[in-house]
Symmetry: C2
Subunit: 148 residues, 2 copies
């Protein structure tokens, strides 16, 4: 998360990717922000600092980073694809109500394979859909009669 300029540059070169200022900015942003931004959000931030970064280049950079394994693409049902630099195996939780996304520490889904009788399929990861803590609390508040 706290990578230096040299480290970021090296990790790009190691994978055969030239270290351009645009790629550097995109990767640095993802390393600094452990959220799950969309390409548009990344473009917004990066472009504000250097207006010479186009939307197409953000997409190009993201694809290059995903291709090299430095970044992971996450499609969780929202309108836009999201990206994260958290590349260790993990699951995701998505809140149906607020759309919030949370990383879930990895656990073997073996029990699920068993539960669903899916012994011949191989499971890579899970997406858990439901209500996050704040939304559960918010709903309780409304349903307990506090109208005003």
């Amino acid at each position: 998360m706290r990578a230096t300029r040299a480290e970021i540059s090296a990790s790009l070169l190691d994978r055969g990717l030239r270290c351009t200022s645009q790629r550097y900015a995109v990767l640095q942003f993802l390393l600094k922000h452990p959220c799950h931004p969309t390409a548009e959000e990344i473009h917004g931030v990066v472009n504000r600092r250097d207006p010479r970064v186009s939307r197409a280049t953000v997409y190009n950079s993201l694809h290059a980073l995903v291709g090299s394994g430095l970044v992971r693409e996450v499609k969780l049902g929202g309108d836009a694809t999201r990206f994260e630099s958290h590349i260790e195996r993990h699951h995701h939780f998505v809140c149906d109500q607020c759309g919030g996304i949370e990383d879930i520490e990895w656990f073997e889904p073996g029990g699920i394979t068993h539960l669903s009788g899916m012994t011949s399929r191989s499971i890579r990861a899970l997406v858990l859909q439901g209500l996050c803590e704040p939304c559960v609390a918010k709903n309780k508040q409304y349903s307990s009669g506090e109208e005003s």
Copy 2:
């Protein structure tokens, strides 16, 4: 799945939806085909039978059906939203390689809640991402040295 015209019509009226020929066609298609078509696929089929069905109306109809609980909207990470008339609780499996979607019989995800320490979140359903049986087999074939 084998609903008569009268039954489909009645289920629409029961929920305060007018039974227009377009809505009828959309709902009938979803009841007949237990797959997970996109709006565009539905429009293609319905429009072929009655060219007077516009794209916008297919979207309107789908939203009305989803709003009334007759149809479920499924966002599984593909490019387009998918729809299904299978409204009983169930999970989904999505193949990373071929994009195929399978319904998974419902099971309580309680074990998962426990595994991930997410006691205060409420889980509605799971999306399992991985490789389906055919794709697992296909990959084995390629990796076992059969080049030609």
